[in-house]
């Protein structure tokens, strides 16, 4: 009897993996098709858009650029100057010094002739203590505001920025990002275009600046990074931004906007209580909470995505740093899904609950677990002698080919749409990485993901109990910290 059950279970697991493999294939093909359609439409629309108008139009919304800075003393002045020179009519730059231990604040005070002002800071969203708000005496820097506060992490710093922001749109960025001069005009456009649905957030594609030439805050010559890990991230970013997010944007299922470059409607961010500082995936969590709020209130909405390369950042090329980053991303994903598990498979939440959430749960969160379990399953088959080498090799070959196809498609996409990597040797390097990625880099990504799971289980970071319980409603976040403080 047990013998029968054992073999029956083995058969069932085999069937599960078979269905999963086919699902992966079907989903990736759907993603490829959707992203191609979205890119085609986007490029067609772009032909008729005149971005010059937005710069001076009184109808264009104002933008508050929020950039948290922690120990950024070496480049802060150059970065802020670059932000202040963006081509847009109505914008302010808010730099939040998040308790830096270096000379970040001093450099800012000196370079921009800043003076402490009597700003009546009102913590609409609770944050760590704000020590001071600074404005410049020099009118050239009238757009700049600097907040000095106790260290509380990126989300907490952004919340402080949100509290004093004045404009309708919030642009949350990393201070070390390089923004294209026309980045604001392009990112603001979706907010201005929609009529039937409210655009609540717009995400932007991020380019990799390692090894590129940068002049006056703009990337002038693209080159792929020199290290294998850097090159791998170029492919990964193409896959994520040009394919994944474009496809999700097509069906209005975007759940993640990169924390390095995301635009949000300020009134809505305040309504849902700003960033949740107790999770390491604050960017994803905010988008999910905003979407959840709109679904709960039954207000038609949209989360858009702009695929143009408007923001560049340096990616980690060191294996340890990259590992820590991926570990953090995995924990952020788990925490966000955990916080909002109420929406999973719930048709009340539309695409978010029925498609986006289950996809993220299975193919992002559970992917490392499923993969490692698949390896164990293969070993068991080997041990009991029920292992078909032919079937194994064929399945392995199939998944390897899928990986090649998807990666090649994303690079082809980049070539057709933007053609930034013009050098043939760069293209050859990328093709080589596509070939070795499943065998050389993917196992590392798998291990980092598993480590993320482990760290989540042992409670590293995050807000343990709260994350495990989850939010009952999107608005609960507004009161949760106040309650927590009272209980202390």
């Amino acid at each position: 009897m047990y013998n029968f059950l054992f073999y029956f279970l083995i058969e069932l697991i085999g069937l599960f993996y078979l269905i999963l493999s086919f699902s992966v294939i079907v989903i990736y093909f759907i993603i490829m098709i959707l992203s191609a359609l979205e890119m085609r439409d986007y490029r067609r629309k772009n032909r008729f858009a005149d971005y010059e108008d937005i710069i001076t139009s009184p109808i264009a919304p104002g933008v508050s650029i929020l950039a948290p800075a922690y120990n950024e003393g070496s480049n802060i002045v150059q970065n802020v100057k670059s932000l202040l020179s963006l081509h847009y009519g109505k914008f302010e730059v808010i730099i939040i010094n998040d308790g830096s231990k270096d000379d970040t604040l001093t450099k800012l005070l000196d370079a921009f002739e800043l003076q402490k002002v009597s700003y009546a800071y009102n913590p609409e969203i609770i944050t760590q203590e704000v020590k001071g708000v600074y404005k410049s005496q020099n009118k050239s820097y009238r757009r700049l505001t600097v907040i000095d506060k106790e260290n509380g992490g990126k989300a907490d710093a952004l919340n402080a920025g949100i509290n004093i922001s004045q404009m309708e749109i919030l642009a949350c960025i990393d201070v070390d990002c390089i923004l294209a001069n026309d980045s604001l005009t392009r990112m603001v456009r979706p907010f201005m275009e929609e009529t039937n649905r409210k655009v609540i957030a717009v995400g932007g594609a991020i380019g990799i600046a390692n090894n590129c030439d940068v002049q006056d805050g703009t990337v002038t010559k693209y080159r792929v990074p020199q290290s294998t890990l850097g090159q791998f991230q170029v492919i990964e970013y193409c896959r994520a931004f040009l394919m994944g997010r474009m496809a999700w944007a097509r069906i209005n299922g975007l759940m993640l906007i990169s924390g390095a470059f995301g635009f949000f409607r300020r009134d809505l961010v305040l309504k849902v209580g700003g960033y949740f500082p107790k999770t390491v995936g604050e960017d994803m969590e905010l988008v999910v909470r905003m979407r959840r709020y709109m679904e709960e209130k039954k207000i038609p909405y949209k989360v858009s995505f702009i695929p143009d390369p408007l923001c560049w950042t340096e990616v980690p090329e060191d294996v340890d740093v990259l590992g820590r980053q991926r570990n953090r991303w995995m924990r952020g994903t788990i925490e966000t899904l955990q916080l909002h598990r109420k929406i999973g498979l719930n048709p009340k939440f539309g695409i978010l609950g029925t498609i986006s959430y289950p996809f993220w749960s299975v193919f992002e969160k559970m992917a490392p677990i499923i993969e490692i379990f698949g390896l164990i399953y293969t070993l068991i088959l080997l041990i009991i002698g029920d292992f078909s080498a032919l079937y194994f090799v064929a399945l392995l070959f199939m998944i390897y080919l899928l990986s090649l196809l998807v990666s090649s498609f994303s690079i082809l996409y980049e070539q057709i749409s933007y053609n930034n990597y013009k050098n043939k040797s760069d293209l050859k390097k990328l093709i080589w990485i596509i070939l070795i990625e499943p065998l050389y880099i993917h196992p590392k990504v798998l291990l980092w993901g598993l480590k993320g799971h482990l760290d989540f289980i042992i409670g590293k970071g995050g807000w343990g109990q709260m994350i495990r319980t989850g939010f009952k409603t999107a608005e609960e976040r507004k009161t949760i910290e106040a309650q927590a403080e009272k209980s202390l």
């Binding site: 013998n3 029968f4 073999y7 029956f8 058969e11 085999g14 069937l15 078979l18 086919f22 294939i25 067609r44 629309k45 032909r47 008729f48 005149d50 108008d53 937005i54 139009s57 009184p58 109808i59 264009a60 919304p61 003076q115 002002v117 009597s118 700003y119 009546a120 800071y121 009102n122 609409e124 404005k135 410049s136 005496q137 009238r142 004045q166 456009r189 907010f191 201005m192 275009e193 929609e194 009529t195 039937n196 078909s388 032919l390 079937y391 064929a394 399945l395 070959f397 199939m398 080919l401 899928l402 090649l404 196809l405 090649s408 498609f409 082809l412 070539q415 057709i416």
Partner: protein, 522 residues
């Protein structure tokens, strides 16, 4: 080396074969083997014959037709027999003739060891079953089954699932290879086509720029208008002019120049556009089913002032496609002799900020030279159009329309009231203070906040009272800031007095902020 390897494999294979065969059958000696043969009716490819030396010849025996003896030099050999159970009876008939038995496998003579080896092989493959096993009663079949290793679903899996999975995987692999190959081919074709197209565009631009510059600088507008068809057709090589891409490049070039140039040059370009027959291409674009082609056509109509196509443009002002109806609206605004804005009034779709921005730019541009009938929009059924009309009054500085706006004060929706107050504030409409004061008492927080801000510039003594009333309520921080700012603007003494009598920490903090010169814009 290869040969050695083959030998080694052969050796190993034969070793394992012989090793595997040892002792499969329970025969201790040849007698046991013969005993077994006597119980077998039919062993595949096995026969036996009888043998009698000639010296023992017995004519009675040798003439027995049941043996069909064949005479050789030394003996008589019987025909072949297959049925082992007959051995004893046949042998009995030959007693006293020194008869012996010969074994044959595949008609080849063999000895006892050879026969045993053959039976071993047959036994291993299941083609030979021991007589005692055959004689097991039928009801022992369950016991037999239980003595085997049980492999559930094994046969089922192999026949259905196993094959199905492998088939599916194989099909997918083939599909991937096909897709990958298609993608590579597509990439190559696409790249070469794009390169070719870019090369052609570059060549066409070189072909276009010379004659076009000559025409613009050497001929005046009348000369271009009066050029004969013959002369026109000779401007560009005929073979090129037939090509659609060439015409597209030409259109883009003319439109590009038109955007950069001013005065008579613009007129020359427009005349040339018509004389070259490019309007036909524009017409074709307008009739296309693809929205982006229609949009291209609309851009061409707009840039080249093709007012003869205005009816076609009008048909798109209420198009389902956002871009088409936006461009159609912009084109109409640009080309209509009087900007009566009636097409906007009748818009079914809400106006987006993007459309408003575009329309405002054009209206600002043409407003000085054309009649602009903004009040018609105040009566539109579309709220977004009414809001846009109010915004236009503000952004165009049309103080003359304040009286018209006043008429819609009370009937307006709250979003419109917000725009009305912003407009009154921007235009300094002090006469609307009563409306502003009423709006300060609204329950709509956005409307209240805007009214409070406007009261700072346009308010009166009653506004001060309302502001102080609001400040005494439990209100949010931003509204409190707006109230105190407005109160300070209206009457600094009242402001100072209020903060002194209501020394809440937020009032004090806001007073410091309001009075900080560096924060005057916050």
């Amino acid at each position: 080396m290869k040969r050695k390897l083959l030998l080694l494999i052969f050796f190993l294979a034969s070793f394992s074969l012989s090793f595997g065969q040892e002792g499969l059958l329970p025969f201790q000696d040849s007698a046991a083997l013969i005993q077994e043969l006597k119980l077998q009716e039919d062993i595949p490819s096995f026969t036996y014959r009888f043998f009698i030396p000639k010296a023992n010849k017995n004519s009675k025996i040798t003439s027995d037709s049941s043996f069909l003896w064949v005479e050789t030099d030394t003996a008589f050999i019987s025909k072949s027999f297959k049925n082992g159970t007959l051995i004893d009876s046949l042998y009995g008939q030959l007693q006293g003739n020194s008869a012996s038995i010969l074994f044959f496998v595949y008609e080849e003579k063999t000895n006892v060891e050879g026969l045993q080896s053959y039976l071993e092989t047959m036994y291993a493959t299941g083609d030979f079953v021991l007589a005692e096993d055959k004689e097991q009663p039928e009801n022992d079949i369950m016991l037999l089954a239980s003595s085997n290793n049980y492999q559930p679903l094994d046969a089922y899996k192999n026949r259905l699932l196993g094959d199905f999975k492998l088939l599916a995987v194989t099909l997918i692999i083939l599909f991937f290879i096909f897709t990958a190959a298609s993608m590579i081919i597509f990439m190559l074709i696409f790249k070469s086509q794009r390169n070719q197209r870019e090369e052609n565009i570059k060549n066409y631009e070189n072909e276009i720029i010379g004659p076009l510059t000559n025409l613009l600088f050497e001929k005046d507008l009348d000369e271009i208008s009066q050029m004969s068809d013959q002369e026109i057709s000779e401007i560009f090589p005929r073979s090129l002019f037939k090509k659609r891409l060439f015409k597209q490049v030409l259109i883009e070039r003319i439109i590009g120049l038109n955007k950069k140039m001013k005065g008579e040059f613009k007129d020359k370009l427009k005349t040339l556009y018509k004389r070259l027959g490019l309007v036909e291409l524009t017409k074709a674009n307008l009739k296309d089913s693809r929205w982006d082609k229609i949009a291209s056509g609309l851009v061409q109509v707009n840039e080249m002032d093709l007012s003869e196509l205005i009816n076609e443009v009008k048909s798109y002002t209420n198009s389902k496609n956002f871009h088409v109806r936006s461009l159609a609206g912009a084109t109409l605004l640009n080309l209509s002799e009087k900007v009566d804005l009636s097409f906007l009034k009748d818009q079914d779709y809400p106006l987006s900020d993007w459309q408003q921005m575009n329309y405002l730019r054009i209206i600002k541009f043409v407003g000085s030279s054309k009649f602009l009938n903004i009040p018609i929009l105040f009566k539109s059924k579309n709220p977004s159009v009414r809001e846009f009309a109010i915004k236009m009054v503000r952004m165009l500085g049309r103080v003359d329309l304040i009286a018209e706006l006043h008429m819609i004060n009370e009937a307006s929706m709250e979003e419109e009231k917000i725009e009305l107050i912003k407009t009154y504030d921007a235009l300094g409409a002090h006469m609307e203070v009563e409306f502003i004061n009423n709006c300060m008492l609204s329950n709509n927080p956005d409307l209240k906040k805007i009214a409070v801000k406007a009261a700072g510039n346009l308010g009166n003594s009653y506004s001060e009272v309302i502001l102080m009333d609001i400040l005494l309520q439990n209100i949010d921080f931003r509204l409190r800031r707006a109230c105190l700012t407005s109160l300070n603007k209206l009457n600094t003494q009242t402001f100072e007095k209020f903060v002194a009598t209501q020394p809440l920490p937020e009032n004090k903090a806001l007073k410091a902020q309001i009075q900080d010169p560096l924060l005057s814009n916050v």
